[in-house]
């Protein structure tokens, strides 16, 4: 039995500890917003948050997250979800959309840690997330847009 907390909900799963978290999320919990792209930590499509940090769920054995907090795109907290979605829509980022949940999860982790990222910070945090459709210029603009939104939101 493995105890999991995903998006604030507790689960007890009878599953081998080596199964990658990605497939537990998708097949067992049936949360399909987290995508499979490579299975080797090369593309970022499977990005989730583990205790607030971005992680590639395709190479994270589920046993490793027992007792920790996992958040998927479906459970992203409103304080991050709202500005990110607003910016993503304003910049019309998605094309096919497949990589976008992973992009947003990586961007959310970046902005939590660094609400005013410089270009180099964006490069460092986002270059592990591939987009075959080539939405990179818009992802960069959307992150810069959130950065502009964030201080206003936290102003007294």
């Amino acid at each position: 039995m493995i105890k999991l907390n995903v998006n604030g909900k507790d689960y007890q799963l009878d599953i081998s500890a080596e199964v990658p978290l990605l497939w537990v999320i998708r097949d067992q919990l049936q949360l399909t917003g987290t995508k499979y792209g490579c299975g080797m930590s090369l593309c970022g499509a499977c990005t989730v948050h583990i205790d607030g940090a971005a992680a590639r769920s395709c190479v994270t054995p589920v046993g490793e997250v027992a007792g920790r907090k996992v958040v998927t795109i479906e459970g992203l907290e409103a304080n991050l979800r709202t500005p990110l979605q607003t910016a993503w829509a304003a910049e019309e980022v998605p094309q096919c959309g497949y990589c976008q949940p992973g992009q947003i999860m990586s961007a959310a982790a970046l902005l939590t840690e660094n609400p005013q990222p410089k270009d180099a910070d964006i490069d460092a945090a986002m270059s592990g997330n591939l987009c075959r459709c080539g939405t990179y210029p818009r992802i960069r603009r959307a992150i810069q847009r959130v950065a502009r939104l964030l201080p206003e939101r936290s102003a007294p």
């Binding site: 097949d27 497949y98 270059s127 075959r132």
Partner: protein
Amino acid sequence: MSESIDIRRREFLKASAAVGGGLVLGFYIPLRGAEIAAAQQPPPAVEPNAWIRIAPDERVTILVAKAEMGQGVYTSLPMLIAEELELDWNQIRVAAAPAAPAYKHTVFGIQVTGGSTSVSSSWDQLRTVGASMREMLILAAAQQWAVAPAACQAEKGRVRHPASGREASYGSLAELASRLPVPQQVALKEPKDFKIIGQALPRLDTAEKIDGSGQFGLDVLIPDMLVAVLARSPVFGGQVKSFKAEQAGKVPGVKAVAQVPSGVVVAASDFWSALQGRKALEIVWDEGEGATLATEKLRQQYAELVKTPGTVARQEGDVAQALAGAAKTLEAVYEVPYLAHACMEPLNCVVDLREDRCEIWTGTQFQGGDQNAAAAVAGLKPEQVTINTMLLGGGFGRRANPHSDFVVEAVQVAKALKQPVKVIWTREDDMRGGHYRPLWYSRMNAGLASDGTPLAWQQRIVGQSIIAGTAFEQAMVHNGIDGTSVEGAAELPYAIPNLLVDLHSPKNVVPVQWWRSVGHSHTGFVVESFIDELAAASGTDPYLFRRRLLTAAPRHLGVLELVTKKSVWDKPAPAGRARGLAVHASFGSWVAQVAEVSVDKNGQINVHRVVCAVDCGRVVNPDTVKAQMEGGIIFGLSAALFGEITLKDGRVEQSNFHDYPVVRLDESPEIDVHIVPSSERPTGVGEPGTPPIAAAVANAVFAASGIRLRRLPMTAARVREAMKG
């Protein structure tokens, strides 16, 4: 658009029932995009009820027959209907149309998304659909009020009768309207009256793509479904000789192991178990002739073949004579490799096969072909096969397989398992599964007069035919020339009096397929690099050199002028950088690009900025056009800098993104897109952004370093090699 997928499912079914089934026969495939643009379209079959659902609560659902793979058809095509139907943009939802005759492509004659034709082939049809429905709603209102239809107007989802002040919403009129006869003729708006077409309206599919709710093929869950992976031959064309299923069958979660035509399938309760089962399989393969295939051998073969005359695709004047008399001659061999599409979403397909019906959920660009092919495998009639087109996590041509490979295989698996099944390709399966952009060679010869004027141009192309052996062969291969092998080369726009383009189409077992921009993906690079070589040989600025030869090609000139102006071509590039230029027409559109690059001492090419000008006729949604140019450039840049599939002992050497790299965010240039205003018919945007970029970069590298790179990809290792030489 956060409507749940179940609602969409019901929409599919209703629409299927409404339009019925039927075998789609007959193809009409023109050779090139320019011909598509010019093709006199047959009068569109107007069945407004097949396209538009107006609910009593005023929500309007527009069914889109084209696959949404990122190119924006779930927005641009509803815009065509909404313009004429006088809808409020906020009223609109989108659903995927089922596979049915009403939705066949107006030019290709079968339901398919490809050739950058979605807007151009729907331009008349969907505006007519919208206008017809508008007239039916007006007529319904006029009948209710006993007034003349001409005295009524439609606006923002309502019909009004100004004289009496009466008005009714579309929702309240829809039921009656849908039973009225479809008008024989409707007047379409004058472009000056467009309110929607030409606006950068927000995409209708964004919300579901940023909150994780969008349903791709991989996300489909149906009751009692197994998840399956296949062990396919490691060599193209190989067959299973024998296999042992015992160990695989013992893996927890594995439910079945079976042989199917393409290999051995392992089905389990979930993906991970299926994958562990596959690892435990023991298979002996009969690898066949493919086992000796190697890229290096193929390259040698092509290098020899390119020295011998091929089948003539285009001939003007006398090239041999002109070359003999030229003051200066140039010769060069260009080469591009096999490429995988590497869509972000690996291939997958869900099948529920029953005695009398088959239901399929997948991301496909080719509903018409897949429906027929699935029916043939299942022993059913096409109308007994339902295709649910899910969102596509990228297509780039891979999901329009002329043999419906991934759908046919999944139906074969469902047949063997007798249970609903989702077949998933791992990234490795997807990358090694073939259907690549062909490896191509081109030998170029040119002759210049003493003043630098080009007198002769010859391009000899060697590469597998994509079309041979498909259902499209009869329509698209003429006199031994597969039009897609020479597109972009045979219609050289430059005014050169003596011209020859010839072709060899050798065969081998590597499956090849259209890859974003098809033949243009090599000819754009080769032609635009070699013309740059001619410019350099004649000592002329690359822009001025092209301009002189394009005086009879106004739309090439248009994008050339715009891109050089926007990139400030006449001023030097920022220190340490150089610029390269390319212009190429494809799929009816004209695109010019200027790339600004630097090359470091390790041979690493950095592309800092790309300025792009596009003329795609009248623009439906300018933001979509820009996004497609950006995407096309980055896709082409991945191929220009990194992409290469190679074979050794018949095996594909690459497997995942570590050995088949694609451009990442930190390698992505700043991109600046400009659109040439036009009132011509709309033409393609999904593919035309891709062909020029490799040449623009190669030409910039030449400007930066004097090194001429004639082989893709332009990896740092190859640049270093060239620096030494």
